[in-house]
């Protein structure tokens, strides 16, 4: 087996959750960045949110070529921006992908399993993560968020692919890494870009009458407003709250540090 387990750092987990909970009407997807160690454990340090070229509700996938291109681009810009290669002496790379299943079971669909199999052809250690959210049991009013990790395997030659389960553990990481923070704030930018691209395509249609153009302009305005109130706003609020929490923690930690210095001096 190519992969024995996946260790997902908790700040990367945070970004995945943010992304998965950003919309209940579509599946979202992204890439996992990290490395594989000599024990075949995949360490995921952060994630990259991907733009979706095909926004169908029930599936999310990009072709292996697209994935390869996206991965290369991601790795280059990632390493360049964060100079991780310098810091670690090793480049970190794309080690897997994640996507969300809003209102759906966490298990990968046949399409997901096939997609994963394709990715594995390029990289045996590639793993897939799925986050299932917006699930509620109406009777017990219990909400649920699930996550799973899988790879694909061909049971017999020529037969359909099936999934194999890979143990995944969220590993504590007390501070949120810079890379994760930057990934998190990419989401509003990506949403806006998608909207702009769609609008531009529509806007280039010349046979529309003024009323229709005004209508389309309003749709753009409405969608951007939705994004700001549902994503940018709460994101900004969370950042401010986190900043406040950190400031307080720092004050308390400073006090503790001084206390400890004194204690050490007295020994």
């Amino acid at each position: 087996m190519a992969v024995s387990a996946v260790h997902l750092e908790s700040d990367a987990f945070l970004v995945c959750m943010n992304h998965a909970l950003s919309t209940e009407k579509e599946e979202v997807m992204g890439l996992c960045i990290g490395e594989v160690d000599t024990n075949r454990i995949v360490h995921i340090h952060s994630v990259i949110i991907l733009r979706r070229s095909d926004k169908r509700k029930d599936r999310v996938e990009i072709s292996p070529e697209q994935l390869s291109a996206a991965s290369t681009e991601a790795e280059i810009s990632f390493n360049f921006t964060h100079r991780l290669a310098e810091m670690t002496g090793r480049p970190v790379r794309v080690v897997g992908w994640y996507h969300s299943h809003p209102h759906i079971t966490v298990w990968p669909s046949h399409v997901d399993v096939r997609t994963q199999a394709m990715y594995q052809m390029m990289d045996q250690g590639f793993v897939g993560l799925i986050f299932s959210c917006f699930i509620e049991d109406k009777n017990t009013k219990t909400g649920r968020v699930l996550y799973t990790c899988f790879q694909s395997v061909q049971a017999q030659k020529g037969s359909e692919y099936e999934r194999i389960e890979i143990p995944i553990h969220v590993v504590p990481h007390e501070a949120i890494g810079k890379v994760c923070l930057e990934s998190a704030v990419e989401l509003p930018r990506i949403l806006c870009q998608e909207e702009q691209d769609t609008y531009r395509r529509i806007h280039s249609l010349t046979h529309l009458d003024p009323i229709t153009k005004i209508h389309n302009g309003s749709v753009f305005t409405k969608n951007l407003c939705s994004q700001m109130s549902a994503v940018s706003g709460p994101l900004l609020q969370w950042l401010e709250d986190r900043l406040e929490q950190n400031k307080q923690s720092i004050v308390e930690l400073q006090k503790e540090k001084e206390r400890l210095i004194q204690e050490l001096a007295s020994l």
Partner: protein, 426 residues
């Protein structure tokens, strides 16, 4: 009654919980408001209903358990105020995260809830319970959450918690064609008056305006993000310094204790040899060991100590080299949750021993001492902790160690031990 929590706050609670190897709790801040909904039915002209809406804006995590209550469940108002400070007026509830436990309030939680209701003066205080379960092979994990209203009657206690989100970003609302219309009047009127909406480039003015708003907002998000990043680095650095100081103090205390023990032993030995009336032996008796001890630099003591020394340093020597990564990874106790083939909607507890949050609290505390012992051991040990630390894969690769450390990341896979120090310190 309806309740909502933002996806970012929810994820943040999950994040804090994931970082905690014990239960995790905190307070929910927000507001409760009433919405009036008017409806018209056949029997009445208009009937209005009042809907209570609980909005969770933010959460205030507690750094450790038992921070505002004791083992008997008695809430300490002073500690409560210290934790909440001026946010006390925004409290609308509290939350608890536990692993492998039932979706019910525990007795202690109920007791605490009643007191909080009275102390904070919030008649409808809510309680959000998160419980975490996993499949036996740890490939799939579920986080279940229920919002309780314990102060209401027994039959009306659970509220649906919704997470507002982007919903439908469907771009199908754009019209790609106009409704066909040959009326010349129509065309001329809409062209003349519709011109208001367009600027000289033929672009809808609103588009530019709203884009400006978005742009300004995104700039602000980036700016605050940079500040948060800086504060995270500062926090990390001080946490690391605090950790090193604690290790140093601990080491010094152990050295001192060991010295005293040796001193005692040497005194006893001298007494015995005096009684024996034989010549004082000058074999490698403890006094010379003590001398060896005092000469070697304190932080490398661990390497020089003779094999039969009684006290082993529990933290690796670490001036320049980083602390060794732990040899074990703590996992939540695995539960046989349904079968891998299909998800069972009610992911029940395979464990059935009715483990409650209380026992987990005790286990978390007992765990610490055992954690320290584990660091030096090379074998996967069958430890006696009730928490059943599962030693799965170990980080053996030294290059990975270097990697983890040079990234400036705390190499430990669990939070600083003292964050969850025993409940005695409050």
């Amino acid at each position: 009654m309806a309740a909502s929590i933002s996806g970012y706050t929810f994820s943040s609670v999950c994040y804090h919980s994931a970082n905690s190897n014990s239960d995790h709790e905190g307070f929910l801040l927000g507001e409760v408001r009433q919405e009036e909904t008017l409806s018209i039915s056949d029997s009445q002209i208009s009937s209005s209903e009042f809907l209570h809406i609980v909005e969770v804006h933010n959460h205030e995590p507690c750094a450790q358990l038992f921070s505002f209550y004791d083992y008997a469940g008695k809430v300490n108002e002073e500690n409560l105020n210290r934790i909440l400070k001026d946010r006390r007026k925004n409290v609308i509830g509290w939350y608890r995260f536990r692993r492998n436990t039932q979706q019910q309030m525990s007795f202690r939680e109920q007791v605490i809830h009643k007191q909080l209701t009275n102390i904070l003066g919030i008649p409808d205080l809510v309680f959000l319970l998160f419980s975490f379960i996993s499949t036996a092979n740890s490939s799939t994990h579920a986080l279940e959450y229920v919002l309780f209203r314990p102060n209401r009657s027994r039959y009306n206690q659970r509220i649906s918690l919704s997470i507002p989100n982007l919903g439908n970003t469907s771009q199908q609302e754009y019209k790609v064609s106009s409704v066909p219309n040959t009326s010349k009047n129509y065309a001329s009127v809409i062209k003349e008056h519709g011109a208001e909406f367009f600027d000289k480039d033929g672009v809808i003015k609103d588009i530019r305006a709203i884009f400006q708003v978005y742009s300004a907002l995104q700039d602000k998000v980036q700016a605050v993000c940079a500040e948060v990043d800086q504060s995270e680095r500062v926090k990390e650095k001080i946490q690391e310094e605090v950790k090193k100081l604690k290790e140093e103090i601990s080491l010094r205390k152990r050295i001192t204790a060991a010295e005293e023990r040796r001193h005692q032993e040497s005194l006893n030995t001298e007494n015995h040899s005096l009684q024996d009336d034989s010549a004082l032996s000058d074999s490698s008796s403890p006094p010379s060991l003590t001398r060896v001890l005092l000469q070697s630099p304190p932080l490398e003591v661990s390497l020089d100590w003779p094999p039969n020394s009684t006290a082993l340093p529990l933290y690796p020597a670490a001036p320049a080299p980083p602390p060794a990564p732990p040899s074990a990874i703590l996992l939540p106790r695995p539960q046989a949750v349904g079968s891998p083939g299909h998800p069972s909607p009610g992911l029940g507890l395979g464990n059935g021993d009715g483990s409650s949050s209380d026992s987990l609290n005790r286990q978390a505390i007992g765990q610490e001492d055992q954690l320290e012992e584990e660091e030096e051991e090379e074998d996967e040990d069958e430890d006696s902790s009730e928490y059943e630390n599962l030693v799965s894969e170990r980080l053996q690769s030294p290059s990975l160690t270097d990697t983890a450390v040079s990234l400036g990341r705390p190499a430990a896979l669990w939070p600083d031990g003292d964050t969850h120090s025993s409940g005695g310190s409050s």
